[in-house]
């Protein structure tokens, strides 16, 4: 199997929301290429797949990263689970590798930066990518519903966790042992 250097992988990470999807495109863990939220109000699942299809065609990623809904503790709605299955089919159609990342892995990675909550993780991501600062939603109060911009940060967290996994799976050099 061909091994890729981390910075050589272009990753498209997608996080579906109730109104559409948030996405980020990264070329290595330190280079953010694009990010945003796409709206898909009517026929959400079909439109989200259409949007993802357009993004894959445009960015030609090496890997498509999404949340692992089969992992214990995942509370995703059945519509989103179905959408993620459709994205898997889409990835195979485009011959793009498909990877799922569990929320547990994300929390484990960001625990190092003392970030436990979603907002703290979003702030930690903003520290790394200053260009995301204007998209950082305000702290969510208990009576507020989740800001759709949070999907950008969730997608970024999945992508960064994916890169972290690559880094760890890299064979060590003799001098490092």
């Amino acid at each position: 199997m061909k091994r890729w250097a981390i910075e050589e992988k272009r990753v498209l990470a997608i996080d579906p929301t109730s109104k559409g999807l948030g996405f980020v495109v990264l070329e290595g863990p330190a280079r953010l290429v694009d990010w945003g939220v796409k709206q898909a109000r009517q026929g959400r699942t079909r439109n989200c797949v259409k949007q993802a299809d357009a993004m894959i065609t445009r960015y030609q990623p090496d890997v498509l990263v999404v949340e692992d809904t089969a992992a214990p503790g995942s509370r995703r709605y059945p519509r989103v689970r179905k959408l993620l299955l459709n994205l898997r089919t889409l990835a195979s159609k485009h011959k793009v590798r498909f990877r799922t990342i569990s929320q547990q892995k994300v929390k484990k990675l960001f625990a190092v930066a003392s970030a436990a909550t979603k907002h703290q993780i979003a702030v930690a991501i903003t520290d790394q990518f200053r260009e995301l600062e204007p998209r950082l939603p305000p702290f969510r109060k208990p009576w507020m519903s989740e800001d759709e911009r949070m999907a950008i940060f969730d997608a970024a967290a999945f992508a960064l966790t994916f890169y972290e996994g690559l880094e760890r799976s890299k064979p060590r050099q003799p001098s490092e042992v």
């Binding site: 070329e27 290429v33 445009r58 960015y59 030609q60 090496d62």
Partner: protein, 118 residues
């Protein structure tokens, strides 16, 4: 390496926090539609616009149009290799040697062997 994107204009624009209309103003265009077309590869900017992009984003055109640059580089090196082969087969003299040295320098600078196929 996975091939670079054709251009990174959208990345640089979003990093700068500029809207398409604002960038169009800086480029001297009337609306952001043209900027949108550049970003979606529906239209290729002319040299004047490419320089304007360089000025606005303070990044060289080869980075802004990375994919296009790679394509042009590959094709140019291919032609340079053909020319080097043609010159090598010709009668050797001082001028030919000078041209061949320039072409070898080109291959060396870009990290491509003259015998390597483009």
């Amino acid at each position: 390496m996975s091939a670079a994107l054709q251009n990174y204009l959208r990345t640089y624009r979003k990093r700068a926090g500029l809207s398409q209309d604002e960038l169009a103003f800086l480029l001297g265009s009337r609306s952001g539609a043209k900027v949108c077309r550049y970003e979606h590869l529906a239209r290729r900017p002319n040299l004047r616009t490419a320089f304007a992009y360089e000025v606005i984003f303070r990044a060289p055109a080869r980075e802004l149009f990375a994919g296009l640059y790679q394509k042009v580089e590959k094709r140019t090196l291919g032609r340079a290799r053909l020319l080097a082969e043609k010159l090598s087969a010709a009668k050797p003299d001082r001028i030919t040697a000078r041209k061949l040295a320039a072409l070898r320098g080109l291959f060396f600078a870009t990290g491509v062997g003259s015998s390597e196929k483009p």
